[in-house]
Subunit: 234 residues, 2 copies
Amino acid sequence: MGSAKIAEGKTKIVRPYREGYALLEFKDDITAGDGARHDVLPGKGVLNAQTSAYLFRVLEGKGISTHYVGMYDERTMIVKYLKMIPVEVVLRNIATGSVVKRLPINEGERFDPPIIEFFLKDDSRHDPMLNYHHMEHLKLMTRKEAERVEEIMYGVNDALFPLLKSKGLILYDFKLEFGRLGDELVVGDEITLDSMRVREEGTGRILDKDLYRKGADLETVRKAYEEFYRRLTS
Amino acid sequence: MGSAKIAEGKTKIVRPYREGYALLEFKDDITAGDGARHDVLPGKGVLNAQTSAYLFRVLEGKGISTHYVGMYDERTMIVKYLKMIPVEVVLRNIATGSVVKRLPINEGERFDPPIIEFFLKDDSRHDPMLNYHHMEHLKLMTRKEAERVEEIMYGVNDALFPLLKSKGLILYDFKLEFGRLGDELVVGDEITLDSMRVREEGTGRILDKDLYRKGADLETVRKAYEEFYRRLTS
């Protein structure tokens, strides 16, 4: 593509497009530990772009606003240009990862209702947790906006959990990022195995980036991402 | 005193008393770093018991329910026996301490409005931060109770900030713990220089436990606690 970059993150590049839009290119990079580990996994960018596009279309079909417009090429989405809020919003159905290290909560414990957490995107501070007061003070989101974001998170879970369940997969948790389009809060960024934890029902087999975090070889990771996309769309 | 203990913490002992009441004895111990540092500071127990009693009476005068009933001896309060919630609730007027390490907030930055944070009392996990969802899941407080606790925190701040200001002192932040008495949420534990940060107006001179945390000698700490009590009650 080679055109100018508006921004480049660890796994994606934002490029200019027509007024009010942008191109979001998914790279083959995979990282963990706030960027401390880093590899290139050929094919990952295409798989994640396709997975994310599929899931954004599912959400749009349920009336949830996302930045997704269409595909520009197989690894690049056309998206609405949002004013992004540098906050990661996590919804957890089943406890795993950081929450079981931080709190007296057991691996595999069910959250009923699901819990939601907000984290500042700040690798140098290891993405600290935020509450409504912090977000107001840091001018990230008002309390009312945070409550609206939580509503949207529950709506996304209500769409994705049963969809994955119907494919024999359990959605443990997922992370979304939001942006503003005028006054509207819109789902931006991506929905992929980099940002969700998905386990096979019954076996508990891991299909998401935890494979990479736990040191699996790259081909195992690539196959899991491919299997997920195949099962999702079959 | 020598009677049985219901519970003993790092700086206080709870003993049985008449039905529905307990005795709260303030020890001379001072600790920091989740108990990693520990000293005995003769006179501290009496000063903290007296300071806390004075401030509980101020709050009761403003219509805020506390567990304070009266004094049993100079270092021991008679209190209503509450079912304590193992959560520390912090209100911050001015940024210092953990919040400036965790978040992109500068030392001395004013919070307007003040911010409130909840932490699980769990030294082994270094008192992790909680949000409403965590507290519901861990059956610590419902969201409605957490919102009521926040209201009470603002009420306490509205009572204590101007009082200290009138003595030439600035209340940077304070921590309270709450308990249940039937359906009512009641301020328990203590309000002392172990649980507040107080600086002299103008000079910024520290009068609270940060002196100890920063390594001041014990006599300096004792004198600061004594000066605070004298200025508060003069």
